[in-house]
Structure formats: structure tokens, C-alpha cells
């Protein structure tokens, strides 16, 4: 097995086992599961970045020019951003969800692996090394925001249902999670990473498009889908300034935003033909 494929296999195994450990930790709060999950998350993430480096070193082709490569970076960046958040704010309880999603996206990316192919002329640009990592990193930040929004919503609705039963196991488990305002702040911080990144991504994409296609904006489905996602997160940021909307409603907007990101990332590439169709 070539080294890069071996490293992908290592990452997939690490994410899967890490997801199992941290998901169990989410429910049981057994510390040893956390202590197992954290190294696995780090190992998987490092293996992925090394794999991308090895792939570039051996093929001399920028590894992010197809869905396999970009999904690989997406998974790696999601885990990397999450690890950063978890270390900073002690958020290991949600790691199982991030690692599970990373494993799913990485496994899905592997199904698109076709071997080494030189890039088509429009992708032979230094912009590929700027635009693609930035956009994919923004998607990764939104994935982290999505996970914490889901945790927020689960906690919110669970508190509505079980909150009154003080002393019950569910109420005790809920109280071990960060408070709703704290979760909301975490989501805000993740979106605050993603929104500038996707803005830079759209701008660098426009600069690249200007060089390759003759216009910085072509109303291509990929461009407009990215604009759509940008609008959603812009709405999120505006709503977050309103006290009455902060919390439940903004977290639903964050969930919708991530659905739009996945549509923009995978749906448009796979189902809708356009100038970005070659990325598959």
C-alpha cells in the first residue's frame, strides 16, 4: 500500500475509534474514554496532514484539486479547528460528533479517489494553493459551529422536556454540559472564524476567476451557492446582535447554514453542472 493511502487508512481508523470513545464519553463522562479519544483525534489529524504533504511530495501535483483531496483537507481541518477549540475551552465532550463527521466525509472522499491525475488547464494556477485551502477551512469551521449548534439544540429541547425533573439522571447529565449561553458563544466563535474565511475564499475565488475565465463573477452555480451560504451566515451574525434572537433561533440558522454549505460543497459539484464541475 502506498504511504499516502496507508496514512488515510490510519486517519480513518483513528477517527472511527476516537469517535466511538468520545461519543461514549459524551454520554457516560468516564474520563478514561476522553483520555483515549483525544490522542486518537490528534493522531488522525496529523496523519491526514502528513498524507496530504506526502501526496504533494510524491506527485508534485497540488493534492486539493479534486473531491478526494479537498474532502481529505475538510476532514483534517474540521478536526484541527475542533482540537483548537477543545483545548482552549475544554470542549472534549463534543469530539465524538466532530470525529464521526470527519470520518464520514473522509470515507466519502476516498470513494472519489481515481489515482493521480494532472490538473486541467484552469486549475493550473497559484490561486489553487490559496483559494481552495481557505474555502475548505471555512467549511470546516462551519462544521464545528454546526456540531455545537446541534449540542445547543439538544440541550435546549432536553431541558424543556426533562429540566423540571431535578435530580433525574437526564437533568444531571444536562447540567454537566456547558450552559446554553456558553454553547451559543462557542458557536458564535466558530462562525466568526468561518465567515471571514469564506469571505476571503469568495474574494480569492473571484480573483482567480478573473484570471481564468475573464470575469470575477460569472453567476456560476458554485459561486452563487457560496454566496447563498455567505448570506445565511451574514444573517446569523446580524441576528446575533439582537438579544431576543440570540440562542435558539441563531443556532437553527447555524444548522441551516451548514446544510447550505454541504449543498454548496458537494451538491453543486455532483448534481449541478457548471464551471466548477471538474472538481469532482
Amino acid at each position: 500500500m502506498p504511504p499516502d493511502e496507508l496514512l488515510v487508512a490510519v486517519a480513518l481508523c483513528a477517527y472511527t475509534l476516537g469517535a466511538l470513545a468520545l461519543l461514549t464519553y459524551f454520554f457516560s463522562r468516564a474520563q478514561w474514554l476522553r483520555d483515549v479519544g483525544i490522542p486518537l483525534a490528534i493522531v488522525g489529524c496529523v496523519a491526514q496532514f502528513v498524507q496530504l504533504g506526502v501526496r504533494f511530495e510524491t506527485t508534485h501535483i497540488w493534492p486539493l484539486l479534486n473531491l478526494y483531496g479537498s474532502l481529505s483537507l475538510f476532514a483534517a481541518m474540521s478536526v484541527a479547528i475542533y482540537i483548537g477549540f477543545a483545548f482552549r475551552y475544554n470542549l472534549w465532550f463534543a469530539g465524538g460528533f466532530v470525529l464521526a463527521l470527519a470520518a464520514i466525509f473522509l470515507a466519502y472522499g476516498v470513494t472519489w479517489y481515481e489515482g493521480t491525475m494532472p490538473p486541467v488547464p484552469s486549475l493550473q494556477s497559484y490561486w489553487a494553493k490559496i483559494h481552495v485551502p481557505i474555502v475548505v477551512s471555512s467549511y470546516a469551521a462551519f462544521l464545528v459551529a454546526f456540531v455545537f449548534s446541534c449540542v445547543y439544540l439538544v440541550k435546549y429541547y432536553a431541558e424543556q422536556s426533562f429540566g423540571a425533573q431535578a435530580g433525574s439522571p437526564v437533568a444531571r447529565w444536562l447540567s454537566a454540559l456547558p450552559s446554553l449561553p456558553q454553547l451559543d458563544v462557542i458557536v458564535y466563535r466558530a462562525v466568526a472564524i468561518g465567515l471571514p474565511l469564506i469571505s476571503i475564499g469568495i474574494i480569492t475565488g473571484a480573483m482567480w476567476a478573473k484570471e481564468a475565465w475573464g470575469a470575477y463573477w460569472q453567476w456560476d452555480p458554485k459561486e452563487t451557492a457560496a454566496l447563498f451560504s455567505w448570506i445565511i451566515y451574514l444573517a446569523y451574525m446580524h441576528l446575533h446582535t439582537r438579544h431576543a434572537w440570540r440562542g435558539l433561533r441563531t443556532n437553527w440558522v447555524s444548522v441551516i447554514g451548514f446544510v447550505s454549505i454541504i449543498f454548496c460543497y458537494l451538491g453543486v459539484n455532483i448534481w449541478i453542472s457548471g464551471l466548477h464541475s471538474y472538481k469532482v
Binding site: E114, M117, P121, Y188, A212, W213, T224, A225, A235, L239
Partner: protein, 448 residues
């Protein structure tokens, strides 16, 4: 101004200055954008009737959803957003940027701390000020009703982040408008050896040579013919009248007198030998037809459409192959009589086809043509500046948290004071909660 006009103005400002109204506009903008992603844009009406049920296709066409990004709806919603942005900027963002220094009820602000400190009021105030200044807080003192208040601000300049982002959005919109008003763009196909001119410019472009590289690559799913390079060698004559040799590649456009020319496509032109009763038609036989061109046969109702060029035909099956490199080429032509299709045929280069009525067609030779896009966009610098300003605003707004501390020191005894500190930020209290707790712990220990 009459009372009615004042009332209208007040209502207008109230509505357009409301953040929720702005978000509603975003929702409509997003929905229209999504329509453009899902519905193929700029297609022939018949395509929509083929793809959708008749009522939906009719709705798409009547609502301009087939060209939604240039529809009155889309332009109108962006106009409304700009209007809302302007009103919000002047009525909400600018006034809110510089809140006045005023006393507060410390206990009523969710982020607050109270503790006792040793020393008289002046020395406690000084120690607090030293502690906060060392952490980057800017201190100011004011007297309100005989009570001395201290105010500490951090990242006050970042209160302008939203204002900067709004300004960036307006500059981008101005740059885009400049292109609509003054710019132009289009497509140009130049056949090898021929010269073409863009209507809006005086530039002449001659295609000396076009070359492409396509590599066959074996992948896990089978053979793929991967394009590697498209390159046009051209001679251009601009306003100075001096011909210059240039090379146009994908990602490497050329600039001629402020208009950019891009490599966008290529194709195969074909010269046919078209004869009737054995005598060549000199007009039709001298022309090079591009894929998609059609011509009428003189003295008949018949027309011929040169549909496409097929670079390689399989010798055994006689059918086109997937290989886009020219090996055994053929052309596909379709014949119609008074608008009725009579059929199409694959004709190898050098082969012949009988068109009826004594007419005969022989694809004689092929010649490559190169497709260029050209664009003159005077708004690009503005859009670039606007994008930079917008981004700067977003970074300022997201990564710097302007916060204000309200500090009150009340003597309890000659050598002991009660300190009350409250904090507000432009993003609510939760986002500053942990930092405030750390800050208070540090300040308390330093001023105790």
C-alpha cells in the same frame, strides 16, 4: 417638512433601520440566489418546458427566474439592502459606536463584580487604574452628581468594524455598477490564419497557431483524456498600430489597451467541398465553417448544419470514440428541408455525402479555431478595494471585542473601600463572561 412627510420619514427610518428588516431582505436575497443555483440560467424557453411541469416552467419564465441575477427582483433586493445598510449605518451603527460616558447601576448589569479593597478611595482608584492600564484598558474619570466614576475602554477603535464592513459592501456595489455602466464583454472565435476584431475596440487579433495537449490517463474507473494545456499564439494590433506577438493561455490572459483577452475554448472549423452536378460552389467551398454553423444550398430549400467535429472514429465500428485527439476525423452534418429535419450523418474527412438534388458535400480539411473571452471592466479596482475594506471590517468586527468597564469606588471607612465594576460589550455579556471573571480575579488580587 409637513407632518405627513415627517411621519413617512420616521416610518421609513424605523423600518429600514431595523436589523430584522435587513435580515428579512437577506432571506429574500438568499432565496433568489438559490433559485439561480437550482434553475439553469439563460436557457431557451423550450428547455424549461422539457425540464419542468408546464405551470412551473411558465412561472420560471414569467418571473424572470431564467435570468434571475439580472431580473428586476434581484437588482431591486440588492438596492433595498443597500438602502437598509445606509439607514442602519447612519441611524444605528454610527451613533452606537461612541456611547457616552454615564453612570450605571452596577448591580443591574449582568456582568459585575463587587469587592472590598484596602486604602482610601484615591489610592484604590489609582491601583485599579494601574492594574487595568497594564492590561491595555484606557482609563477615563468623570464626576457625576459628586460621585467620581472611572471608565475603562478596550478596543474602542474596533467599534467601527461594522461601519467599515458596510462601507466595503457599498464600494463593491459601486464597482459592480461601474461595470454595468461603462464596461463590456463578449466572446470571440478566431480561426487559425484569420484576423478578427472586437466591435467595441480597434484591436485586431490574428490567430497564428492554436495548440492543445490532452493526455490519456488510466484511472481506477478507466481511461480518461485529461486536457493539459490550451495555447493560442496570436498577433495583436492595438491602438498604437504596432503588431505584437503574444501568447494566450488559460489563467494567463493578455491585456490590450485595457481590455483583457482570455483563452476560453477551442474547436474545429471545417472547409467543405460543396458541389452540384460535379461543379464546386465557389462561395460555399471557400469558407471555413465552425461547429454550429449552417448554410443554405442555393436554389433549394435545403440547409445543412455542421453540427460537430469528431476527432477520432473507430475504424472497425465506424463510430466516434471518446479520444479527443485528432486521428481519424469525421464531421457530423444534419440536413433539413424547409425546416424539417431529414437526418444527420457522420462523414469522414475526405468522404462524401449526397445531399439530394445533385448536391454533394465532402469535408475537405479541418482547421482549429480558438475561442476567447474579452472583458473591459473599469470597476475592478473599486471592487478589489471594496472587498478588502469589507474583509477588514469583518475581521475588526469579529476578532476584536470592544468592551467598557464602569468602575465605582465608595469609601466604607477611612482605610477601606467598596469597589463595584460592571462590564458591557457590543456583543452582549455571554461572550465576555469568562474573560471578565479572569480580569476581576486579577484586579481584585492586585488592588486588595
Amino acid at each position: 417638512m409637513t407632518a405627513a412627510a415627517r411621519q413617512f420619514y420616521a416610518e421609513f427610518v424605523r423600518t429600514f433601520g431595523n436589523v430584522l428588516f435587513a435580515v428579512s431582505l437577506f432571506v429574500v436575497w438568499g432565496a433568489l440566489t438559490l433559485v439561480g443555483v437550482i434553475v439553469d440560467q439563460g436557457q431557451d424557453p423550450s428547455i424549461y418546458f422539457q425540464s419542468y411541469a408546464a405551470p412551473i416552467a411558465r412561472a420560471i419564465l414569467r418571473l424572470d427566474f431564467d435570468n434571475v441575477y439580472h431580473s428586476p427582483w434581484y437588482v431591486g433586493i440588492i438596492g433595498l439592502i443597500l438602502l437598509s445598510l445606509a439607514v442602519c449605518t447612519f441611524k444605528r451603527v454610527i451613533p452606537a459606536r461612541l456611547p457616552p460616558l454615564r453612570p450605571v447601576s452596577v448591580e443591574k448589569i449582568p456582568l459585575h463584580a463587587t469587592f472590598e479593597a484596602e486604602g482610601d478611595a484615591a489610592s484604590v482608584r489609582r491601583r485599579l487604574a494601574d492594574s487595568l492600564t497594564a492590561r491595555g484598558w484606557r482609563m477615563r474619570e468623570r464626576l457625576f452628581g459628586g460621585v467620581e466614576w472611572s471608565f475603562a475602554d478596550k478596543h474602542n477603535w474596533a467599534r467601527r468594524g461594522v461601519l467599515v464592513a458596510h462601507a466595503g459592501f457599498v464600494i463593491v456595489a459601486a464597482g459592480t455598477t461601474l461595470y454595468w455602466a461603462r464596461g463590456f464583454s463578449g466572446d470571440l472565435a478566431v480561426v487559425t490564419g484569420q484576423t478578427s476584431q472586437v466591435a467595441q475596440t480597434k484591436m485586431l487579433m490574428r490567430l497564428d497557431k492554436f495548440a492543445y495537449t490532452i493526455d490519456p490517463i488510466m484511472t481506477k474507473s478507466g481511461m480518461v483524456y485529461q486536457p493539459i494545456d490550451y495555447v493560442s499564439h496570436v498577433t495583436v494590433t492595438g491602438n498604437d498600430g504596432i503588431p505584437k506577438r503574444m501568447i494566450v493561455r488559460v489563467n494567463h490572459p493578455i491585456d490590450v489597451d485595457g481590455t483583457l483577452y482570455y483563452q476560453s475554448s477551442y474547436g474545429f472549423g471545417t472547409q467543405f467541398l460543396i458541389s452540384r452536378d460535379g461543379r464546386a460552389d465557389p462561395n460555399l467551398s471557400s469558407r471555413v465553417f465552425l461547429e454550429g454553423d449552417s448554410f443554405d444550398l442555393p436554389g433549394s430549400e435545403r440547409s445543412v448544419l455542421y453540427e460537430r467535429f469528431t476527432p477520432t472514429v473507430d475504424k472497425q465500428s465506424g463510430m466516434p470514440t471518446a479520444d479527443p485527439r485528432v486521428s481519424d476525423p469525421a464531421v457530423v452534418v444534419a440536413v433539413s428541408q424547409a425546416g424539417n429535419d431529414l437526418g444527420e450523418a457522420l462523414v469522414p474527412l475526405g468522404g462524401a455525402i449526397d445531399l439530394g438534388g445533385g448536391w454533394r458535400l465532402v469535408p475537405k480539411r479541418y482547421v482549429l479555431y480558438s475561442g476567447f473571452q474579452y472583458r473591459n471592466d473599469p470597476g475592478v479596482p473599486l471592487v478589489g478595494i471594496g472587498a478588502f475594506v469589507l474583509l477588514s471590517g469583518l475581521v475588526i468586527a469579529f476578532y476584536f471585542l470592544p468592551a467598557r468597564l464602569y468602575v465605582r469606588v465608595d469609601p466604607i471607612s477611612p482605610q477601606r473601600c467598596q469597589v463595584g465594576i460592571a462590564a458591557t460589550t457590543v456583543k452582549g455579556y455571554d461572550v465576555f463572561e469568562s474573560e471578565f471573571a479572569r480580569l476581576m480575579a486579577a484586579v481584585k488580587s492586585e488592588s486588595a
